[in-house]
């Protein structure tokens, strides 16, 4: 198997893709947004429980490829417990990670370095431009939910 593929589909990703964490619809969610990629038909609902500006719970449901499912799953793990501002900073920083070379990354405010370290496994999508939308789909939905919108498209 080619190196680039191993880079894209690391064990962590295959694991999260097969066994996504927080794959549920919390009863007490008070925000939700749909993320849809019209090109491939991937569709996620992201649910948030926001209280006093903090993401107390975050979960998702839907169907997607290994990359989009793994990214959604990891997103729920790192965003939980963050303030709205921290969650948005993670979104922006993660977006840079997937789309830009290291030296082009912007400053999006204080960001959880440990979380970014874990998310590094998804940076392989940079070599596969058409898959960037997969990696960022649930993140767009999470960001939309925080902003009070009900849908996001990764197109």
């Amino acid at each position: 198997m080619m190196d680039e593929l191993r880079e894209l589909y690391q064990e962590v990703i295959l694991d999260h893709g097969k066994n996504p964490r927080n794959f549920r619809h919390p009863d007490d969610a008070n925000r939700e947004a749909k993320g849809e990629n019209p090109m491939c038909g991937d569709r996620f609902m992201v649910y948030l429980k926001l209280k006093d500006g903090v993401v107390e719970d975050v979960a998702f449901q839907g169907r997607g490829c290994a990359i989009s499912t793994a990214s959604a799953s990891m997103m729920t793990e790192v965003v939980k417990g963050k303030t709205e501002a921290e969650a948005k900073a993670l979104f922006e920083t993660f977006h840079d990670l997937c789309t830009k070379d290291d030296h082009e990354h912007g400053d999006h405010g204080p960001v959880d370095e440990d979380a970014m370290e874990r998310l590094m496994v998804l940076s392989g999508v940079r070599q596969f431009p058409v898959r960037v939308k997969c990696a960022t789909l649930a993140w767009h939905a999470m960001n939309a939910a925080i902003e009070g919108e009900d849908k996001a498209s990764s197109e």
Binding site: M1, M2, E4, L5, L8, Y9, L14, K18, M39, C40, G41, D42, R43, R63, G64, C65, A66, I67, S68, T69, F128, V130, R131, C134
Partner: protein, 424 residues
């Protein structure tokens, strides 16, 4: 069997290696990396768009270098030369479809535009609130959305003929849907996802018994067999040049002349008028009436050469070759555990849509691509059909006149690699 796509009756004499030599792009590799050779291209996405033979590329280059000019409007030498070649292409298309005359052939920019032309011109003139159009559940979005726009405008109703689990059109349901309210049937002649070839002649006859005209979307069907619009008795027949080994920017609308004649213009502009004044403008007769503006001159001429190319190989021989590939690839793929093929209608075209259990088609597409294998993944512009089969997306391998059994093997090997990779 009532199929307008003639299947082979005798062993073909088809030298695929010689054919491949005509397509420069097929000799390239993909994914070359520093110091590492790439993988030979295995192009199995011709249902999305076919590659072009050198004959077409050369003819277009030659035309641009030697004969190019605008058409239908100059008295000068080049304009006459270019017009002659453009109109010769129209005659070639007419022969290709066995149309009664080149007057039946309207050039558009795509098959999509051809459907929109009929929806806009015929639809807005002859359909009104409460009228119904019958389509099938396996239409490409290009044969759905133009009718939905008409629906928004005119309050018509769209009725949908289902397919069975093999992807065979339900003719009984079709018969039940035909009524006094039916004003048009718009149906694919070959599904771009399932490969199903619809019984065009029967569909047309059943509609005609009620005086209803029929439009066929032949975007896929015209590529894989011999289409005879007079035998089918199609009222409108649509195809697209870029899938016929010709250039992009070339769509074809065949129409019965009495229908075309009573249809108003679709777009206004140059080349479609007899005289223009601010008191009133009169329009040319079809097909010019529907060809406003400077057309894709070079590309239409290229399309004519592409059709010549197909004729030179023999369309029945092409169909036989593709049918062999379809059977071989289906057989080989079916041996992979967890692989499901969507569309198993008898006499289908060389299109295989499939899923692999436990692997999303998008991941499959990325991985087989690393092996040089180009397939389409996704919804194939046929979302209602995806819903029908309860699947979010599929992978689709489509075979063309230049594909080989070895390429089918490469597909199978790459899919097996996907399976191993995901432990599926």
């Amino acid at each position: 069997m009532d199929t307008q796509i003639a299947l082979p009756t005798s062993a073909p004499t088809f030298d695929v290696e010689r054919v491949r030599a005509d397509f420069p792009i097929l000799s390239r590799s993909v994914h070359e990396r520093k110091g590492k050779p790439g993988k030979p291209l295995v192009y199995l996405d011709s249902a999305a768009s076919a590659q072009k033979p050198r004959q077409v590329i050369d003819a277009m280059t030659r035309f641009l270098e030697e004969d190019y000019s605008n058409i239908h409007r100059g008295v000068h030498f080049l304009s006459q030369t270019a017009t002659d070649q453009f109109e010769e292409a129209r005659r070639k298309v007419a022969r290709f479809l066995n149309a009664p005359s080149e007057r039946n052939i309207v050039f558009t920019r795509s098959a999509t535009e051809a459907v929109n032309l009929v929806a806009h011109s015929y639809g807005r003139t002859f359909l009104s609130e409460g009228d119904e159009i019958i389509v099938s559940v396996m239409e490409h979005h290009a044969n759905i959305v133009p009718w939905q726009l008409l629906q928004m405008d005119k309050g018509i109703r769209i009725r949908v003929v289902p397919v069975d689990e093999h992807g065979v059109l339900d003719l009984n349901a079709y018969e039940d849907l035909l009524s006094d309210r039916t004003k048009l049937v718009a149906m694919t002649h070959c599904s771009n996802v399932l490969g199903t070839v619809t019984p065009a002649k029967i569909i047309a006859r059943m509609a005609h018994e009620r005086g209803v005209p029929v439009l066929f979307d032949g975007s896929q069907a015209a590529v894989h067999g011999v289409v005879d619009v007079q035998d089918i008795d199609a009222d409108f027949y649509i195809m697209t040049g870029h899938k016929l080994y010709g250039p992009t920017g070339t769509g074809v609308l065949y129409g019965k002349y009495d229908l075309l004649k009573k249809m108003p213009p679709y777009q206004g502009g140059g080349d479609m008028i007899e005289s223009v004044s601010f008191e009133g403008t009169t329009f040319k007769a079809p097909p010019a009436r529907f060809e406003a503006g400077t057309p894709a001159i070079t590309e239409v001429i290229g399309l004519g050469v592409a059709l010549d190319y197909m004729e030179s190989l023999g369309r029945e021989a092409i169909a036989a070759h593709e049918h062999d590939l379809l059977q071989y690839a289906t057989q080989q793929l079916s041996q992979i555990d967890g692989l499901r093929v969507y569309g198993t209608a008898p006499g289908k075209g060389p299109i295989i849509s499939f899923t692999l259990e436990g692997v999303h088609p998008h991941d499959l597409g990325t991985i087989v691509d690393q092996y040089g294998v180009a397939v389409r993944v996704g919804r194939h512009c046929a979302e209602p059909l995806m819903e029908r089969f309860g699947v979010g997306a599929t992978a689709r391998a489509s075979f063309a006149l230049y594909n080989t059994r070895a390429e089918a093997d490469a597909l199978v090997e790459s899919v097996i690699a996907v399976k191993e990779f995901f432990g599926a």
